[in-house]
Symmetry: C2
Subunit: 369 residues, 2 copies
């Protein structure tokens, strides 16, 4: 495998993705379909290669945030259905041309899209989003009948599914709220189907939901973070395999006498004599400034080395006092150790953000065993 | 100008870049050369278009972090000299093939590069980095004589410049330290030149330094953040023009009754009846989670609307109670108002990081007046 010249890379283990997909499959009824969310470049891991793998494994749907993302997948040869979450008027041409399936979340977008379709002789599958408590996108849950009436008069749009999204599937404190969300979805669904006369697919579970609420799996689930190796509830983490490892290399090593400062604004300080390594990753690569000044540790030859001073745009310094290390040695920013979840904790955020933050110039290297 | 389908875009004003370049030029002696740092995709703004503009304006050098970035610039037709900061062995072929000029920062890399050059009949310009207090990359400042001796025996490497980097050019509290850094650079430079027999260029100022220490401009300066519209000292901000504006659109609007929650983990709360807009930007686009729950404001039809609840990967919600707004309306995340520096303050970071964080799927749209 060719590596990015500067040695900073995200290694993505495709076999671990397969393992994780199979884990979630094992928690579902055999007939339940799976949509995998590959938006935001497969949660930062690399959209193209992962979509290819998922198509090979015959997942039923891919989910993207924007039509552009769907267009890229089609252009690379992905043939399985693709749902687009956030559609707007400018996307309609692409939706038709690239055989994408838009989420219809408001009467505004429904009207605009229907009008657009009047000038074509095609049919398009759409997915109706119901807002049951997330308050993000979706129809109010009392609109099932009205929506069914409208859609019966719009034969160009075929409703492939009715769905909602849980606001707190990963929180034990939100179990009752989640149940209420599902009741609202079911109410909408029953209203809708009674008038529409057909029963499209129904779905509402994300990764955390699959684990916590298998009774709500309905016809399909929408798997995201779990595929990428992070169990959102934290409870079944041991069943997943680590997918991505962010690695870099040591560019230079130097001794720092006690009292000297390191890096921008002289923030790094040594109380006694120490030794630092400059590594080839900075905040433009996704190793954020919040990790500076000892707030995160990297793995160097089996030992954890904390950051020293502020993180620079393209580099940072780590404290390797007492650690055997040489220029050119590999350094793990996250992977098996430290985990991406650990890094997320260090930054008071969630693993999703650490992953999607990985810079565009960091080369993705795909590994199979 | 074609816009990204989902309407989320970074508008980059090329005329503002020209204005800012001229401002910094006006603070320098006419003969002082300018290197512009275009690493990390032009600090997130878009590497290619900005490099073209800078070549047109005859800046003397471009600076990148990694050889790969230099290769891309050459492939797009940039002909002016390009310095590469962080070189390692795997880059040597590219350096030669694409006519890049490496920073030589250690005896290790000097030895490896000299050995590599022995098998060619070419000459390469190199830049010697001296560590005078940044403690990142560079030779110790007492190595000038030893280095000159070595380089005299290595005719394939022509020393184009000797340089250092100030750790606290933007901090009034670091003025004495900066002066000490410059004295160390000068000491190294004198030692080096006495033995080397030629006087390469000398440079040490970044944007903040150009403003604070014009007396240290020597033969060249290295302009970064100032070009992109942020005056690192904050004192001369009024002389710069805003370069980039991050914009998105409203996807949906809904009323939220008092007591209801909004978004993931039900973090958004309304004490009284309110109205929210869902906008098409999330943390995968660079609008970080730290901006959630009221920690940042977006401009909607002339009014500032704070975020509500957690930021999602591809969307977020803002409070537009009392603000006139419609679906499709443009929303400014940063630009003239709020400024990128304001957003950086809201996130306890620096404008550099907000800029380099802007996601790869956010389309860059270049504007001239
Ligand atoms: C509609 C929808 N379904 C399913 C998923 C998968 O969630 P998870 O990764 O937790 O399995 C997402 C992801 N949401 C993200 C992360 C967001 O909008 O912030 C989603 O927006
Ligand atoms: C060697 C060098 N010179 C000049 C500059 C320009 O700095 P400024 O943008 O403040 O004008 C930088 C940028 N440094 C960055 C931002 C870093 O390494 O974090 C640099 O690394």
């Amino acid at each position: 495998l060719e590596e990015k010249a500067h040695g900073t890379r995200l290694e993505v283990n495709l076999d671990a993705i397969t393992h994780n997909l199979n884990f979630y499959r094992s928690r579902l009824r055999p007939e339940t379909k799976i949509m995998v969310m590959v938006k935001a470049f497969g949660y930062g891991n690399g959209g193209q290669e992962i979509a290819d793998l998922l198509q090979y494994h015959r997942v039923d749907y891919l989910g993207v945030a924007y039509a552009d993302e769907g267009v890229s997948l089609r252009q690379q040869g992905i043939r399985i259905p693709i749902m687009v979450m956030n559609t707007s008027e400018v996307d309609f041409e692409n939706i038709l041309e690239y055989d994408l399936e838009p989420e219809i979340y408001s009467f505004d977008i429904l009207r605009d899209f229907s009008e657009f379709m009047e000038n074509t002789d095609k049919k398009v599958k759409v997915h109706l989003k119901v807002d049951t408590g997330m308050r993000r996108l979706g129809f109010a849950s009392d609109k099932g009948i009205e929506l069914a009436r409208t859609l019966k008069k719009t034969p160009a749009l075929e409703v492939a599914s009715v769905f909602s999204h849980l606001a707190g599937a990963d929180g034990p404190e939100h179990v009752a709220f989640s149940a209420r969300q599902v009741r609202e979805l079911n109410g909408f669904y029953d209203d809708f189907c009674a008038v529409y006369g057909k029963r499209p697919m129904r779905h509402t579970l994300n990764s955390a939901g699959i684990v916590r609420f298998p009774e709500y799996q309905f016809d399909m689930v929408r798997l995201g973070i779990g595929l990428y190796g992070v169990e959102a509830n934290g409870e079944l983490q041991e069943h997943l395999r680590n997918v991505s490892s962010l690695k870099t290399v040591i560019s230079q090593i130097r001794n720092i006498p006690a009292g000297e400062s390191v890096g921008y604004s002289r923030k790094g300080r040594f109380e006694r004599d120490g030794r630092i390594a400059t590594v080839a990753i900075g905040y433009a690569d996704g190793f954020r400034r919040v990790f500076g000044n000892g707030n995160a540790r990297m793995l160097v030859n089996g030992r954890l080395a904390p950051t020293v001073g502020n993180i620079c745009m393209d580099m940072c310094m780590i404290d390797i006092t007492g650690i055997e290390a040489e220029v050119g040695d590999e350094v793990t920013v996250f992977g098996e150790t430290p985990t991406v979840s650990r890094l997320a904790d260090d930054a008071s955020t969630i693993a999703y953000e650490i992953l999607t933050d990985i810079g565009q110039r960091v080369k993705r290297v795909f590994i199979t065993e």
